[in-house]
């Protein structure tokens, strides 16, 4: 539905009750993006699913505060997802350092073990030693499939800066990948 029917939301929201969103459509559209954002952040397995669930539950419970006139739904949702990721890492740091996390998979479930040698697991190990900013940009770009401009808007970085950081990070990953493969 028009993101900017919403114009009315600014000028007339008080006069007209919030229109019901097509939540089925929003969910179908955004679930894979959020889920893959977290897969790139924490790897495959239940943690990515848990963080995806937390993000959607927070968004749905706060859905009446979403201002359609001011931001696209996915921008709003990814703002929540980023905060969920920050909270997750904050909790993780209490138990294990980032360096240790790079050495040892945090969650060793049967699914993780089965995928230990998968490309994503390989990538996850390399991502784990990247600085937080680079890791997040890669997750937003390749996990969530966002454009550089959308990432810039979410993170507050300049669009060209986003492109430069991603380019540099991928080059570094590529070099490490060849050595470690």
């Amino acid at each position: 539905m028009a993101n900017d029917t919403m114009a009315i939301q600014r000028a007339w929201t008080w006069a007209i009750p919030a229109r019901e969103e097509d939540w089925d459509a929003l969910y179908a559209e955004q679930l894979p993006r959020i889920y893959n954002f977290f897969r790139f952040r924490v790897g495959d397995g239940p943690v990515a699913e848990d963080l995806t669930s937390v993000t959607f539950e927070k968004a749905w419970s706060a859905r009446h505060r979403y201002r359609r006139d001011l931001a696209a739904f996915n921008t709003w949702l990814f703002t929540i997802a980023r905060n969920v990721a920050v909270d997750h890492y904050r909790q993780q740091r209490r138990h294990v350092s980032l360096e240790q996390a790079a050495e040892v998979p945090a969650e060793t479930t049967p699914e993780d073990l089965a995928e230990l040698h998968s490309d994503l697991e390989h990538l996850a190990r390399r991502l784990a030693v990247l600085p937080e900013r680079e890791r997040e940009l890669l997750s937003l770009k390749y996990g969530a499939g966002l454009t550089n401009r959308a990432i810039a808007r979410l993170t507050g970085l300049g669009e060209s800066n986003v492109g430069t950081i991603l380019h540099r990070t991928i080059a570094g990953l590529r070099a490490g990948w060849k050595q470690g493969a």
Binding site: M1, A7, T13, W14, W23, A25, L31, E57, L123
Partner: protein, 325 residues
């Protein structure tokens, strides 16, 4: 390792996980919004943004002898374009409550959550006016639900300091705030609203919304044109354009509707012989980001205002609007 390889690492979530999470979210969708949030956010908060950032003045500067108030009512709609960067800035300010330029707000009458009713007739009886319904339903649309929201009324007290803080936050240093604004009380009255929703078996959705004109009452003598100009500057218009538009607009009959220009287009249309406004959102905005496609038409007839919105072709939406009787 290539860029493409990274893209190909994406996977769909497990269908069982997707189903179970959707079921949990559905349970939340059926819950009504929290009452306190409705009052604070949906009414007072949006009022703040509405009054300051959008259309400081609704129509009709008409002195009311009894109340010593100027009364404003919606008679027609006009679009004012604004860009995404300003929208995002306002969004940030909204999160910090900086758009709230009122230091006191009192909910006189809580409209409550919209209630589902059995029929348009029942909605009309509850709302107290003869509700129209569309005779033309394109794309296999059928009536889905009818809801009514009750009347609402709020009083807000303007804070000059907060307004100045908002202007500072937007770096609008040249804007002069009219003297004597502080503490002025604005009353907002929202009549009952009837909402009819339509859907087909696929993804088509449409909604018809109608009510009597909302009213805004401000203290007599308030410089409405000046306040409107400030509102337009807040929306991002340059000083010359804001001044020109503030002077050219007939505030007695016009509600300005801000339209983000990177994602939407708008044009004047005619519905039932009345001037209306059609806003259309494309599937992708100027940045290439996905937007939900759809259109909205607004118009006013007599003492009532109407909106028809949906993810229909403009032609169908207008025909649907035209068929509301």
């Amino acid at each position: 390792m290539e860029d493409r390889f990274l893209n190909e690492l994406r996977r769909d979530p497990d269908p069982r996980f997707a189903r179970e999470l959707r079921a949990r979210l559905r349970a939340q969708e059926s819950k009504p919004p929290e009452r306190t949030r409705r009052l604070g956010g949906a009414l007072a908060g949006v009022l703040a943004a509405t009054l300051v950032a959008a259309a400081f003045a609704l129509p009709s500067v008409r002195a009311s002898a009894q109340a010593m108030l100027d009364l404003f009512r919606v008679r027609k709609f006009a679009a004012v374009p604004f860009d995404e960067a300003r929208a995002e800035k306002l969004h940030q300010l909204g999160s910090d409550n900086a758009l709230m330029v009122f230091d006191r707000h009192e909910t006189v009458l809580d409209p409550g959550a919209p209630q589902v009713v059995a029929s348009v007739e029942a909605a009309a009886a509850a709302a107290g006016f003869q509700a129209g319904r569309p005779g033309y339903l394109p794309g296999g649309l059928t009536a889905d639900t009818v809801r009514v929201q009750g009347a609402g009324e709020a009083r807000l007290s303007v804070s000059e300091a907060r307004l100045r803080a908002l202007l500072d936050a937007l770096d609008l240093r040249d804007v002069q705030v009219p003297a004597g604004l502080d503490g002025k009380v604005i009353e907002v009255r929202k009549p009952p609203v009837v909402i009819q929703q339509f859907r087909n078996t696929g993804r088509l959705r449409a909604t018809v919304v109608q009510s009597k004109s909302p009213e805004l009452a401000v203290p007599a003598g308030l410089d409405v044109e000046r306040l409107a100009e400030i509102g337009l500057r807040v929306l991002g218009l340059d000083p010359a354009e804001a001044g020109r538009l503030a002077r050219a607009t007939d505030w007695r009959s016009t509600l300005l509707v801000p339209v983000p220009i990177n994602a939407s287009t708008f044009r004047q249309v005619t519905v039932h012989g009345e001037q209306g406004l059609l806003i259309t959102t494309r599937g992708r905005d100027a940045d290439g980001d996905r937007r939900r496609e759809g259109s909205l038409v607004l118009w006013s007839e007599g003492d009532r205002v109407f909106a028809v919105l949906g993810n229909l072709a403009d032609k169908d939406l207008l025909q649907m609007a035209e068929s509301v009787r």
